[in-house]
């Protein structure tokens, strides 16, 4: 009986999945949308070859116009800066992985509709929380990323990336706030992204 119920539920979920645009619009309507979002993150990477997860934490800043600052504080300090066309890491400038810039912008900026460009989206929208499952459309990206699971309420709270090779990354977002202005330090970091 439980099994049948579960099957029914998942069918329902699939049904909702087809109406992904309505779903996304519903979720997006609940998200707090401001030009600037910042908070803390805790990340766990479960790699197949390692018997314990790689754990890191730090802060993130999203600016609608300028991009994202991803500052890892433990275990080593490093800064990753990204906008739609540029990606800077401790190793210098790198290619922006196709999905990366867009996904960050869509997720942190609440522009969920943009996600349908690169992903097939299914999910559910309940009273207090919502969940989305993204599968890449791009064949090349598919080889790296299997699915991405997003969940949250008025904010994005959790992101899980399941790689095609079996590695899993969990990121939890806490202490999210929406300041009206960037700090000087954040300004200076974004400065490095501008050409």
């Amino acid at each position: 009986m439980i099994l049948i119920k579960a099957l029914f539920l998942s069918l329902l979920l699939c049904g909702q999945g087809f109406a992904s645009e309505d779903l996304l619009a519903g979720i997006a309507a609940r998200l707090v949308k401001t030009p600037i979002t910042q908070g803390e993150f805790h990340q766990q990477k479960h790699l197949k070859v390692l018997h314990k997860p790689l754990i890191s934490s730090g802060t993130f800043t999203y600016d609608q116009n300028k991009g994202v600052i991803w500052k890892t504080l433990t275990p080593v300090v490093s800064v990753l800066l990204v906008n739609e066309s540029k990606l800077l890491t401790g190793q210098g400038e790198q290619a922006v992985p196709a999905a990366f810039g867009k996904v960050f912008k869509a997720m942190l900026g609440g522009d969920l509709a943009a996600l349908t460009d690169g992903f097939n989206v299914t999910g559910s929208d309940q009273k207090t929380s919502w969940q989305l499952e993204l599968t890449p459309k791009d064949d090349m990206l598919k080889k790296v990323i299997g699915t991405m699971l997003l969940s949250g309420d008025t904010e994005l709270r959790k992101l899980e990336i399941r790689e095609a090779g079996g590695n899993v990354t969990d990121i939890a977002f806490d202490n999210i706030s929406h300041p009206a202005q960037l700090t000087d330090e954040q300004q200076a970091d974004f400065e490095r992204l501008s050409p």
Partner: protein, 757 residues
């Protein structure tokens, strides 16, 4: 004539036209290895055409590019059309090189291991914890310290964003999808170039209609534009001048015969010149054809002079006329042949070709006039006095008088004018000044270079060594210098093989460095254990490292795994010499780069500079030869008429040359090798005019008509070229115009009884 035609039919069936600039160089001018490297470098870059389809979103841009790709493939112009960059090549390369991972280290990792191996651990943690470290994390199983991942990534220093395997270049509010094509043939036929231009136009229209934008660039487009505009100009100028000449000759002679005859004289001269040249040299350069053909324009003088002589006497017959003008014609021919002979003695094949071409052409035109005209003109008389004859007669009588009345004032003016102009005259030999690509094409090319800074500049280094080790050492030294220059922003990037392929010696050093700093020191074990690898993984890693000690990756094996651009850097080893090229991108400070050639085994190759300096040398040589030609003609005339008279005749071309040069100076016109060909033409024509008037005697009226007609036809034929937007052609036309007008004005001043200029 028959013989020429038969020989011509045989000679011209072969491949007889040469278009490469380098073919003009004397054989010893170019070192063969530099020539070979240049050829290879050009072959690669001349074939490339880069297409960027732009739109506001990357999906749209990709959509445009996909449609574009299909269109390009259908055109059959390209041997390669690349839109999707398949990961297969990278995977294959990864697999082929992976077993040599302990021998291959990129420079940064090398430095890190040597100075501060702890840093490697920190950097790895950074990479692995990064939200974008998925790829590296996935490699961790094979490549525990990410050493090979580092080496592999350093092979592609410019990081490009791929979407669906397609390179997408971000721009302000725009995305560009990249399509790379290689033309089938490096030296495109004219009709293929036209197809290419048409293809570019229609593709641009289609992308635009779909709401996007298309940028296209490539060497072939510049060539296509040059060929197109030259063709257009030559046809407009050609039609204009032909019409002008027809009207002029018709108005004078009221008969088509003179027109046909002068065409015959020039035509037979051209054909004969072409045939003789091809028989003698095997091939003829397109520039020879252009300038040689211009110089044969002198032949027009002979025809006009003969024809106009018919107005000189009432009972004129071709034979009588010929008897009268033959000395003048023959002397004109000899003085011209003498002046071209000077060119023939230069060591430059280009000038030799021009000399032989013009001499042969002129000789045959002269033969046509002297041998065929009397036959073809039999029964040819005029019973009208053309209006232009009245005009030239009046002109011939009154102009010299006016000049001699004002000679003090005019003389002073002339001296000030010419000396001022000559003072201002500055030679310009930069080959880039000679090309005049439209601003639009240049802008697009710049924009593409800024978005996709991957196509190497035309300058490069040629590195050689007596064996592979020697070559490797030399190139490494060069790359070190280039690194320093790169940090000073003298260039954006470079590509050199030894950056990626360490030689056997260095491979051993790499291995030893790793062994001592990373494996034997216990760092690897600590790193792997801390990260969470299990014991077995650590043991296996140590075992693999130990087993790889004797490995050496040979260059051919490395090349086999590399992409085409890198493969082409290697020129191979032969007869005790190994060579490679180092290509450069985004050059800012060319002098700083050119100064690097002091390193052993390193040669700086700058084709633009070498062609420019070639032009400069040609210009200086040709100036000398012009002076020699002038002396030879003067000597000839002095021998025949005495010094005083010789000088009188030569005063016409001298004045014409001086005024031409002064005009170039005053109007700040391009003064290069090409003007000198125009000056040679002016010299030849000036001598003719002077001679004709000097020997006119009592036939000054008909001589004046002949010279005027000849000058007007020359102006129509060559002077009109001054309106061209192609710099060389314009410079040629401008010089000829100034010289001919001056010769026309000064010639009637001589030969007057009791009066000398």
């Amino acid at each position: 004539m028959l013989v020429i035609c038969i020989l011509g039919a045989q000679a011209l069936t072969k491949d007889w036209l040469e278009t490469g600039f380098l073919a003009l160089l004397p054989a010893n001018e170019q070192q063969p290895e530099i020539a070979k490297a240049t050829r290879q470098h050009n072959e690669l870059s001349n074939r490339k055409v880069i297409w960027l389809a732009g739109a506001t979103t990357s999906e749209e841009a990709i959509g445009h590019a996909q449609k574009l790709k299909r269109q390009l493939e259908q055109s059959r112009l390209f041997s390669k059309v690349v839109l999707e960059f398949s990961p297969q090549q990278y995977i294959r390369q990864y697999q082929r090189l992976f077993s040599y991972r302990y021998q291959l280290l990129d420079t940064q990792t090398q430095a890190m291991l040597a100075n501060n191996p702890d840093r490697l651990i920190k950097q790895n943690l950074e990479i692995l914890n990064s939200p974008i470290g998925q790829m590296q994390a996935a490699d961790l199983e094979r490549d525990s310290a990410l050493l090979f991942s580092r080496y592999f990534n350093s092979q592609n220093p410019v990081k490009l964003n791929l979407e669906q395997g397609i390179v997408v270049l971000p721009d302000k509010n725009k995305f560009w999808a990249l399509v790379l094509t290689d033309l089938q043939d490096e030296r495109l036929q004219l009709d293929k170039l036209e197809t290419l231009s048409a293809l570019v136009d229609s593709a641009t229209e289609q992308v635009k209609a779909a709401g996007g934008e298309l940028l296209v660039s490539g060497m072939a487009l510049f060539t296509a534009h040059g060929a197109e505009s030259a063709k257009q100009e030559i046809s407009t100028v050609g039609i204009g001048s032909s019409l002008g000449i027809i009207v002029l000759l018709w108005a004078t002679f009221r008969s088509v015969r003179p027109l046909l005859l002068s065409s015959l004289a020039i035509g037979s001269g051209l054909l004969a010149a072409l045939v003789v040249c091809v028989l003698f040299f095997g091939k003829i350069h397109i520039l020879t054809l252009v300038f040689g053909a211009s110089l044969i324009g002198v032949a027009d003088d002979y025809a006009q002079h003969f024809l106009c002589d018919s107005f000189g006497e009432t009972d004129w017959s071709p034979r009588k006329g010929l008897r009268f003008i033959l000395p003048g014609l023959s002397l004109g021919l000899i003085s011209n042949l003498l002046s071209y002979a000077g060119l023939g003695f230069s060591p430059f094949p280009g000038l030799q070709e021009v000399a032989l071409f013009s001499a042969a052409g002129l000789l045959f035109a002269w033969l046509t006039v002297v041998l065929l005209f009397p036959l073809l003109l039999s029964g040819f008389t005029f019973n009208h006095r053309p209006g232009i004859l009245k005009l030239t007669t009046y002109w011939e009588q009154h102009w010299p008088l006016w000049v001699s009345k004002n000679r003090r004032c005019l003389g002073l003016l002339l001296i000030v004018f010419t000396s001022g102009g000559l003072w201002l005259l500055t030679p310009q030999d930069d080959v880039r000044l000679l090309q005049s690509p439209p601003a639009g094409l240049l802008r697009t090319a710049d924009k593409i270079r800024q978005l996709f800074p991957m196509s190497p500049d035309s300058q490069f280094f040629l590195v050689s060594g007596k064996d592979q080790a020697d070559w490797h050492r030399n190139e490494q030294r060069l790359l070190e210098r280039l690194d320093a220059l790169k940090s000073q922003k003298a260039l954006a990037a470079y590509e050199g093989l030894s950056r990626y392929w360490p030689d056997a010696n260095q491979q051993q050093q790499n291995y030893q460095l790793l062994k001592h700093s990373w494996y034997d020191s216990g760092l690897l074990e600590r790193y792997m254990t801390d990260l969470g690898f299990d014991r077995a993984a650590v043991q296996s890693e140590l075992k693999q490292f130990a087993a790889a000690e004797g490995n050496t990756l040979a260059l051919p094996e490395w090349l086999a795994a590399a992409d085409q651009n890198k493969q082409q850097l290697w020129l191979g080893c032969d007869a005790g010499r190994c060579q490679s090229t180092v290509t450069l991108t985004g050059i800012n400070d060319i002098n700083a780069l050119a100064a690097v050639h002091d390193l052993p085994g390193v040669a700086w190759v700058d084709q633009v500079e070498s062609v420019s300096s070639l032009f400069a040398r040609y210009r200086i040589r040709a100036s000398g030869l012009l002076a020699i030609a002038f002396c030879l003609a003067s000597l000839g005339l002095a021998y025949k008429f005495g010094w005083r008279n010789g000088a009188t005749i030569m005063s016409v071309p001298v004045l014409a040359l001086a005024v031409s040069l002064a005009m170039l100076g005053w109007f700040n016109q391009l003064f290069s090798l090409f003007n000198l060909f125009a000056l040679l033409l002016v010299l030849g024509i000036g001598v003719d005019y002077g001679l004709f008037f000097f020997m006119a005697g009592d036939r000054r009226a008909s001589t004046s008509l002949g010279v005027t007609l000849s000058a007007l036809t020359t102006l129509l034929a060559f002077g009109l070229l001054a309106v061209s937007s192609t710099e060389i052609v314009h410079a040629f036309g401008f010089t000829v115009t100034c010289g001919i007008v001056t010769a026309l004005l000064s010639a009637p001043l001589i030969g007057l009884k009791g009066q000398k200029l």
